[in-house]
């Protein structure tokens, strides 16, 4: 009976929290599809693309947390990714630690990097903050070259243990990690801490005036963002079996920016959508190698031209409506808000002209 009651509860929660909104349903069934895909289709190329997309989705979500939700635009997010990648790789090669240990330790190193970035940047705002964050991965890349006997210099650290013994297991490690971690990031933004993060973005002065210790929360944001980016970096190092200077490059810093803005900034799910649309798109465009990057850039520009807030918010706007009274989201098919009952659509009377 307990099991039945639990299953009933689970079904009610699923219906009430997930199925009730089209956006959440799409994300939920998308996650289910990712988990179920290998049951019907195990092409190694497709698995590689989706594995990489899962890892980068975690990275992109971490950028959205600090830059989108908290409003601290980071142009050097590769510092966290690269720090964790190198830490994981070096621990694996020199201490013989397995990925299940090196990845969290690499993420902890990225948290320390978050402190190293967050604290000096506390007094900076806007473009000055952004430029300062840009410098950090460049500094670390320089240190990598200086201590090349440890870091391998331009070659990086290779020979790293595989993430899992088979391609299929690597896929599931990456996908499950992505689902769990991105849900965690989303839950943070939906918590009390998340409310403070949003407040800092909207008006830091007002938040401070309300008694919020905004410097503390900004440092916390950098550390949390570093943690999730670091987990992505550790996964990347073990999946690619190398941690090299490319993990600290400007391109690595800019990629999550492109994915998140394309997908929808300050939403977290936008980061996921951006990665899972753009990363496979770049692969598909191999059919036209000379025009590949041009078409890729053109696609982004075209989509942003017609969907300036990003792809995911545009889709959500068409599938969901916000209640004018309680501001909760409802499916576009509903006539009344599911929370407060307010009418969502006023039915058109015959003979009465619409508009003003």
């Amino acid at each position: 009976m307990t099991v039945v009651r639990y299953l009933n509860w689970l079904w009610r929660e699923f219906k009430g929290e997930i199925l009730v909104l089209p956006g959440r349903s799409i994300l939920f069934f998308g996650a289910v599809a990712l988990l179920a895909l290998p049951l019907v289709f195990r092409h190694p190329y497709a698995l590689r693309i989706l594995t990489m997309a899962s890892i980068f989705a975690i990275f992109a979500a971490s950028w959205d947390l600090i830059s989108g939700v908290v409003g601290q635009l980071s142009l050097g997010h590769a510092i966290f990714f690269g720090t964790a990648a190198y830490t994981s790789a070096l621990l694996n090669l020199n201490a013989g630690l397995p990925p299940v240990v090196t990845i969290p330790l690499g993420a902890l190193a990225a948290v320390v990097a978050g402190l190293a970035v967050g604290i000096p940047c506390l007094r900076l705002k806007g473009q000055y903050l952004s430029l300062a964050t840009l410098a950090f991965p460049i500094i670390l890349a320089g240190l990598v070259m200086v201590f090349s006997s440890v870091t391998g210099g331009e070659l990086g650290v290779s020979g790293v243990t595989r993430l899992a013994p088979t391609r299929l297991k690597e896929y599931y490690v990456a996908v499950v990690a992505a689902i769990v971690l991105i849900l965690a990031v989303w839950k943070i933004t939906d918590s009390k801490v998340g409310i403070i993060f949003h407040a800092i973005r909207e008006d830091e002065v007002a938040a401070r005036a309300s008694g919020i210790n905004t410097p503390l929360y900004k440092v916390l944001a950098f550390c949390l963002s570093g943690l999730f980016a670091g987990l992505a970096g550790g996964l990347y190092a073990h999946y690619m079996r190398i941690a090299g200077p490319s993990t600290l490059s400007v391109l690595t810093s800019f990629q999550p920016i492109i994915w998140v803005i394309f997908g929808g900034i300050a939403t977290i799910y936008g980061a996921v959508v951006g990665v899972f649309v753009l990363f496979p798109l770049v692969e598909v465009l191999r059919v036209a190698p000379e025009l590949r990057m041009l078409l890729y850039a053109a696609s982004i520009v075209l989509v942003l031209r017609f969907m300036p807030e990003g792809l995911a918010p545009w889709v959500i706007d068409r599938l969901e409506r916000k209640c004018p009274r309680c501001k909760e989201h409802n499916a576009f098919t509903r006539r009344a808000c599911r929370v407060c009952g307010t009418a969502l659509r006023v039915p058109q009377e015959k003979g009465v002209p619409s508009g003003g």
Binding site: H43, P44, R48, M52, L155, G156, I242, S246, V284, F306
Partner: protein, 429 residues
Amino acid sequence: MRRRIVTILVVLVLLSTMVMGFGAGCGLKYTKNVLKVGVAGPMQFIMGRHHWLGAQMAADEINKAGGVLIDGKKYRIDLVQIDTNELLSIDDAAAAIERAISVDKVNVLVGSIRTEAALVMQEIAMDNQTIFIVCGASHTALSVKVGADYERYKYWFRVTPINVGNLVKTSMILLNQVGATVRAQLGIAKPKVAVIIEKAVAGDPLAAAAQALIPTFGMEFVGLWRPSPNATDVTAELTAIRDSGANIIYTYFSGPAGVPYAKQWGELQIPAASVGINVEAQAKGFMQATNNMGNWEYTLNTMARVKITEKTIPYYDAFVERTGGLEFPTYNAGTYDAIYIWKEAIERANSIDPDAIVVEMEKTDFISSAGRIVFDTMHDVKWGPGFVTAVGTQWQDGELVACWPIDFYGVTYEGTVPYKLPPWMVPGG
């Protein structure tokens, strides 16, 4: 309303392109009596372009001659161009190789240039037991794996260039050659050597080796300068070198800084002979890039238009003609020899089974355009007299000529000419 329709259409086109491209990509099947060669390189750059051109020349010749003979059947060679984009993105390179192996079903991979990417591509190729013949990345980090785990990495080979250790060794031989010329022509018993090496990690061990070895050559080390690999002006370094009293400048430039270096060295007429590795100086457009100031620059090279073997000059001329007279073959065009070596191994094995081909490739004794190719125990091309030596090439009066080897353990390539000091260094020159 119109905006909505356009937006929806854009999204639908994007999605359907992805589905079609992905689905079509995953569904390719083998074609009978065809062997597929994956040519992997950064195709938007000269290295990838030369990978492709060298491979095309080989494939065209082999197919014209009837193809690859296996078990009495003739197989055509089809090339698959793989744009790895490895100079900009390692993940792109990895995905490209995965696609080539699992979608395009290539039988062999040739190419690659950047070692960090080549290490990743090597892992993917070995996961799939696909033969991977490197024609570009020189680091020994790739070859040592064959020695460390033979069963996994035996499918990896390197045809060109000679590995980084041998490159350094050979460039030091050129340094000694120039040193001997300075002694003979200028009467300087102990030439002073300035070392200028771009600030890239590949140059770090070279800088250390140069400082340690130069005194043992009977020369004096007078200083080390490390400009940026992308420097557009090295006047400060060259002026300091001139003030140091150096008679020889030992160089290492793998990137664009090699052009302003040579140009300004010629403009300022620094009284020191320049010798070492300057990759830009291997290109046909070097004189134009340096406004004709690059004369007398002396660099290690993979080949020159001299008779290294019977195949060298015909190959060299055919390559130049294929580029419309615009480019000399760089070491990346060694995909030409790589495909021939692989083809002969298949025919000896009489099989397309990678394990059988590997056994035959290890027995390779192939006269290539760059020399006699034999693989060592780590599947790396052997260096030395009688094998692949590389050549020293100097720009003399606007022409790129070979100046080494001359009587190197009895080896002299027909067409090699004596090295010349810059005329401003020679009294009455």
